[in-house]
């Protein structure tokens, strides 16, 4: 672990964060220490959103979030977002019950459609959020994805 941490320090120079990570003494946190970006280090939904500058957000029917009702396997869950909100600047995907809620954030420049489709890991049955930043504020849509157990060998 020490080696990794030094490598990480050299790589990112984020001394403060590394010290804080060390102080928690949590193995899973240490294992995560390669990532210096606060949004992806956050361990609560609120904290994750705050780290991308979001404190308030409203539900909007103009965001269409497509995800399956049941994921046969949580390792790969297709998620597709279309925002019909004018002035959409970015789309973030968060999984509420994952150890780290922030999954991805997509910047939408002028001329690019407010549409993304990808596949996420969902650790357990959870709400999946699409959080959309626009010129007129921040909006979200959410959908619950049930993750089921499967197979003959557990």
């Amino acid at each position: 672990m020490k080696k990794t941490r030094r490598g990480f320090l050299a790589l990112t120079g984020q001394l403060g964060l590394a010290a804080a990570t060390l102080a928690t003494g949590l193995f899973s946190r240490l294992a995560q220490a390669v990532d210096a970006r606060p949004a992806f280090e956050a361990t609560s939904f609120k904290e994750a959103l705050a780290s991308i500058g979001v404190t308030e957000h409203k539900a909007s029917a103009e965001i269409i979030l497509k995800a399956p009702d049941i994921a046969e396997n949580g390792a790969v869950v297709p998620v597709e977002v279309t925002s019909k909100l004018p002035g959409t600047r970015s789309i973030a995907l968060l999984v509420e019950k994952n150890p780290h809620q922030m999954s991805a954030e997509f910047m939408i420049p002028e001329g690019t459609e407010a549409f993304v489709s990808t596949r996420l890991k969902v650790a357990e049955t959870s709400d999946v959020y699409a959080v959309v930043k626009t010129d007129a504020g921040v909006f979200h849509a959410a959908k619950v994805v049930k993750v089921t157990l499967g197979g003959c060998g557990g």
């Binding site: 990794t4 390669v34 992806f40 999954s103 939408i108 690019t112 489709s117 996420l120």
Partner: protein, 103 residues
């Protein structure tokens, strides 16, 4: 050397429809191998797409994007024959760029 991406970029009316598959382990750093050792985190953190010197998409990813990632987006301003370039960077300093011709 990471494996090449499979990129499809097709005109749909005036929009370029992009579909990408990337070869990457996307290790979270939380998984243990058969011997009980933690597999170190190793995942893509950044993806950018460029067409005619313009960034048409940039994304920040964390470890919960699924293994061998799939990513699709759509943009205007491209035309048949234009080049689209996709680059990813990962936590281990790895990177890969692939280019396709829009058709």
């Amino acid at each position: 050397m990471p494996d090449p991406m499979r990129i499809r970029a097709v005109m749909m009316g005036e929009v370029v429809d992009v579909k990408i598959l990337m070869s990457h382990v996307m290790e979270t750093g939380q998984r243990k191998d058969a011997d009980g050792n933690v597999v170190p985190a190793h995942y893509i953190t950044e993806v950018t797409a460029t067409c005619k010197d313009k960034t048409v998409m940039s994304a920040a990813w964390g470890p919960s994007v699924a293994k061998n990632p799939y990513f699709s987006f759509r943009f205007k301003g491209g035309a048949k024959g234009d080049k689209l370039s996709i680059t990813w960077k990962d936590t281990a300093g790895g990177t890969r760029t692939d280019e396709v011709t829009i058709n």
